[in-house]
């Protein structure tokens, strides 16, 4: 043995000697000390039970999937790695060949619109097929591999024959297209290795799909959630139980306690950029940030918070100050709601719903009042416009709280719906027609999230804050709404419908405070064409 080896052995001997006063420390070097008073058959029974526990869920899964004729998920892996790439390449190749053949027919160019419509109808499914690599991987429209397909589609839609021919030529040599065995074999192999055999993306997607469709998971998940709710009042990953039956949305709380870091500057930049784009079109922008429920009612969330914290947690107020400094018009609902909540008579009269993230009648009415006050200060507001009179009609509606819905507890526990007071807005007149958006007449367009949707397009309809704002201003409005998507999706919607801005003087952009961090699709720059 080498000198170092001897020194090491000597050292280990010293150390082990030092460890002797600690039998548990010394135990780690001891092997073969396992023992049991149990008989052999007990151990065999235990091992068998373990194997059954491991194997039965898979067997159950395969049996169910076969019964439901949905295909066996575990076999998708094999199929997607062997057969699917070839099938897709072949389908795409056939599709491109067919298109080329159709366009090469004599007289095709002279057939006019009908010919183009038919070609587009043949192109669109091809484009969609190209997106779907296999059961678990779908290419994004912006993916570089989709670019030739998108270019071809655009050329067809623009009826540009020279570009169509160029695009089809490129598609024939696209790595995903099978056009004869010899030239395609290498490309197909590359595609197969990249997309299937050695793709982390595919493996994650397949694993995720397998877990999601698991019968055992679907059976056991609600049972565990039920048990945790009954034992610990636990609402799962989305909800937090507050005081006196109130429930809160966890991401909203997380937003309030995390620092306002660099990523959150992006919303402000996006808002200023949007304002600039609207300004170029002679349209004003008014930003309405709806406070989170826990910002207004912190003491309902936890007894450690006192009512005087209302409006002071989170970064909504700070963001509004920054926006004002950047020249953006804003409505301060933080101060307004903090004042309003002092008028709470009882729990049924609060600004927000107990088991939902949204507001009640009082909240939406106060919001529409505050917004109306600011709108009236715009110079163009006094210009002559079509005025409409509205009346209100009291009603009630039953609502299932969204926090409990998101917690998925309803699968095993029946929660009573909450009856909520509402006021529907009707056009004054003998017919009492419920308020409806009027895109042609409206001077104001509202972009919003679920706070704009609740009571408005939900039951009882025409009782949301948009209707109440219309009543306040005595004029019809227009709106584009996207649940959770007020940060980007709703602007993208607007960009796709530029005609909506025609005749508008003001865009009111409503979103909830937590969207500064958690808005769907983030805060992308969206160009209004």
């Amino acid at each position: 043995m080498s000198e170092i080896g001897k020194q090491k052995m000597a050292w280990q001997k010293d150390e082990l000697a030092a460890m002797h006063h600690e039998p548990h420390v010394a135990a780690f070097v001891a092997h073969g000390r396992l023992h049991s008073p149990l008989g052999r058959w007990v151990l065999i029974g235990f091992v068998s039970a373990f194997f059954l526990l491991m194997v039965l869920p898979g067997v159950w899964q395969i049996w169910t999937e076969r019964k439901e004729s949905a295909g066996v998920q575990i076999l998708h892996l094999l199929r997607d790695m062997t057969i699917t790439p070839g099938e897709r390449a072949s389908e795409l190749g056939t599709g491109v060949d067919t298109l080329c053949a159709v366009m090469a027919r004599p007289g095709w160019k002279d057939s006019g619109e009908v010919a183009w419509d038919n070609a587009i109808q043949a192109m669109v499914p091809l484009w969609q097929r190209a997106k779907i690599v296999n059961r678990h991987v779908e290419l994004d429209s912006l993916d570089s591999r989709m670019q030739p397909w998108s270019n071809a589609r655009l050329a067809f839609e623009n009826h540009d024959i020279s570009k169509v021919q160029t695009a089809l030529g490129l598609l024939k040599n696209h790595p995903d297209v099978f056009s004869g065995f010899v030239p395609s074999a290498k490309r197909l192999l590359q595609s197969w290795v990249r997309e299937n055999l050695l793709s982390r993306q595919y493996l994650r997607a397949w694993e995720s799909g397998t877990e999601e469709s698991s019968q055992l998971a679907q059976w056991s998940r609600p049972l565990l959630q039920n048990a945790r709710y009954r034992l610990f009042n636990d609402l799962g990953s989305k909800g937090v139980a507050g005081e006196e039956g109130w429930t809160f949305y966890k991401p909203g709380i997380e937003y309030a306690v995390r620092p306002w870091g660099h990523p959150e500057d992006r919303p402000l930049q996006a808002i200023v950029e949007f304002k600039r784009q609207l300004k170029d079109r002679g349209i004003d922008l008014l930003v309405v940030v709806v406070p989170n429920k826990e910002t207004v009612y912190p003491e309902r969330l936890t007894p450690w918070a006192s009512a005087h914290l209302s409006g002071k947690v989170g970064y909504g107020a700070m963001a509004l100050d920054s926006l004002r400094q950047m020249g953006v018009s804003v409505v301060d609902l933080f101060s307004a709601f903090s004042q309003e909540r002092r008028l709470d008579q009882n729990i049924e009269d609060a600004i927000y719903l107990e088991d939902d993230t949204h507001w009640r009648l009082r909240g939406l009415k106060r919001a529409s009042l505050e917004v109306a006050q600011v709108v009236r200060k715009f110079a163009w507001y006094a210009e002559p416009h079509n005025s409409t009179s509205f009346v209100t009609k009291a009603c009630r509606v039953d609502r299932d709280g969204d926090v409990l819905t998101m917690s998925k507890l309803r699968a095993t526990i029946e929660f009573l719906p909450q009856t909520v007071k509402c006021e529907q807005i009707l056009v004054a007149g003998p017919d009492s027609i419920a308020y409806q958006d009027d895109f042609r007449q409206a001077r104001i367009l509202i972009l919003g999230d679920s706070f704009s949707r609740i009571y408005q397009t939900d039951a009882p309809r025409s009782a949301g804050w948009i209707s109440h704002l219309a009543a306040e201003l005595s004029e019809p409005l227009a709106s584009l709404v996207s649940d959770g998507g007020a940060s980007t999706l709703v602007r993208e919607k607007l960009a796709r419908k530029p005609g909506v801005l025609r005749g508008k003087r003001l865009v009111i952009w409503e979103f909830v405070e937590r969207d500064f961090r958690y808005g769907d699709s983030g805060w992308k720059h969206v160009k209004l064409d």
Partner: protein, 475 residues
């Protein structure tokens, strides 16, 4: 693949065990069984990122060849040294490139930025760290060093060596196995019913530690560490949660690894031994991540003279160096280096006092408490994204930083009854005199029952949790 995942538990594991024992039952040669384990281990590893399998195989082949050259009949000392050098260089280069390239280039750019060369003087490649690279490179290096020293016989069969490096139970997060501790088992294994049952029990307990305790504690720690300024009470609650999370996460993985090893007929060394019952930092390092500690002791500390040096100053330097490198091994970030040096400071101070802490005269529970407080302060460095964050967190812990207005709201997240219950259970379990290893050493009816309940509860809970990899995967 992750142990605590659907695909591993319900598909991979039963399939591997089934085929393995079928081979055993049919009397297949051990080398073919080793090859089977190697192939399944490559599938297991490739599941994270298929391309990295090539990297691991390359490293394995280099070390296997180095071992053969070192032990070749008539090999000169020069040739033996060159072979060792090639093995060490290739492993350290692999580790250095994938783990430290971005860290050092970032640091270099920062330095050049300060000298006025612009903040992005060198463009830096974004490199994905191969999972478990720190573990398998250390394991592989141990082989060539042991063979070079003459402490272990060389492997003659590549299938067996591939099995040693890739062995899936402990591949990605340890325990780090030295070749000389498993050399015999790679040639001959005892598959007994009792060992298999003990493996199931240990695997079940490890799974419970990860899914029921570590993940719950992790929710608290993540919320507190992500918060703006949590205040004193919540900072302590957060670091307590992280202290539990890292132990039960890593110890859970190690227990599952040892348990799976037993199911396949292997016996790996124990990685943890009630570290939060330590009475000093010296004691803590005899109980925490023991496979890494002994690796550093055998291959680094002793190689540079260990504690048999003439000068005390040199001894302290040796200790400092080992802890510095241990910190760097954990991650390419100054926080890990600082964590290593923080521990080095206390280890050296205890050496000055004859391996005793400055609070030695106090009663045992107080000694344990004070040791844990030091360890918790050090974990702040380990958990924080940068040194600035760690400093702010320390300030919160000692009450030198005012809590944010929203701190009570944070309380609602981290004092949820279920999480509090799990954290209390975790704290209690760390203070029990017998741990999972001891529990699985003797198989009785109540223990089988406990293991079954823990396993079933863990599996059901697994379905309600999002993907939650082990903390030590990042190292």
């Amino acid at each position: 693949m992750v142990f605590s995942s659907h695909i591993f538990i319900f598909y991979f594991l039963p399939l591997v065990l089934g085929v393995y024992y079928l081979m055993h039952w049919r009397g297949v040669n051990i080398h073919w069984m080793n090859l089977f384990i190697s192939v399944t281990s490559y599938v297991f590893y490739g599941w994270f990122e298929p391309w990295f399998v090539i990297l691991m195989f390359g490293s394995t082949v280099v070390d296997y060849a180095a071992g053969r050259i070192i032990t070749a009949p008539g090999a000169t000392i020069r040739r033996r040294n060159i072979a060792l050098g090639v093995s060490m260089t290739s492993n350290l280069a692999l580790l250095g490139f994938f783990k430290y390239y971005m860290f050092f280039m970032g640091g270099l750019n920062h330095l050049l930025g300060l000298l006025g060369a612009g903040p992005h003087y060198y463009s830096i490649l974004a490199i994905t760290l191969p999972v478990g690279i720190s573990f398998y490179t250390f394991q592989s290096m141990s082989y060539t060093i042991d063979v070079w020293r003459g402490d272990a016989p060389p492997v003659r069969d590549l299938r067996t060596f591939t099995c040693f490096v890739a062995l899936f139970p402990q591949l990605v997060a340890g325990p780090i196995i030295r070749y000389n501790t498993v050399a015999n088992q790679l040639e001959r294994r005892h598959h007994t019913l009792l060992r298999f049952v003990s493996g199931i029990v240990l695997f079940s307990l490890g799974m419970g530690q990860k899914i029921l305790l570590a993940n719950s504690a992790g929710q608290i720690a993540d919320s507190v560490f992500a918060a703006d300024s949590p205040g004193m009470l919540l900072s302590w609650w957060g670091i307590l949660a992280y202290t539990m999370q890292i132990f039960f996460d890593f110890n859970g993985y190690s227990n599952m690894a040892v348990g799976l090893g037993r199911m396949l007929g292997f016996e790996f060394i124990r990685n943890f031994n009630a570290p939060y019952r330590s009475r000093s930092i010296t004691d803590f390092w005899k109980r925490w991540h023991m496979s890494l500690t002994t690796w550093f002791t055998d291959y680094l500390y002793i190689s540079i003279g260990g504690n048999r040096v003439k000068s005390k100053l040199r001894l302290y330097f040796n200790l400092f160096l080992v802890m510095f490198i241990s910190g760097l091994w954990h991650g390419a970030n100054l926080t890990f280096v600082a964590w290593g040096m923080f521990h080095a400071f206390f280890l050296i101070s205890e050496r000055l006092l004859d391996k005793k802490p400055f609070y030695e005269p106090l009663p045992l529970p107080i000694k344990i408490l004070l040791t844990n407080l030091i360890v918790m302060f050090a974990w702040v460095l380990f958990r924080s994204p940068d040194l600035g964050h760690a400093l702010e967190f320390w300030k919160s812990m000692v009450g030198a930083r005012e809590a944010m207005a929203a701190a009570p709201l944070l309380g609602s997240l981290v004092f949820e009854p279920y999480l509090v219950f799990c954290l209390i259970c975790a704290v209690v379990l760390t203070q029990l005199p017998w741990q999972a290893h001891d529990f699985a050493a003797k198989i009785t009816w109540p223990r089988l029952l406990v293991a079954t309940v823990v396993l079933v509860l863990s599996l059901v809970t697994m379905f309600t949790q999002a993907f939650n990899p082990f903390l030590y995967f990042q190292f």
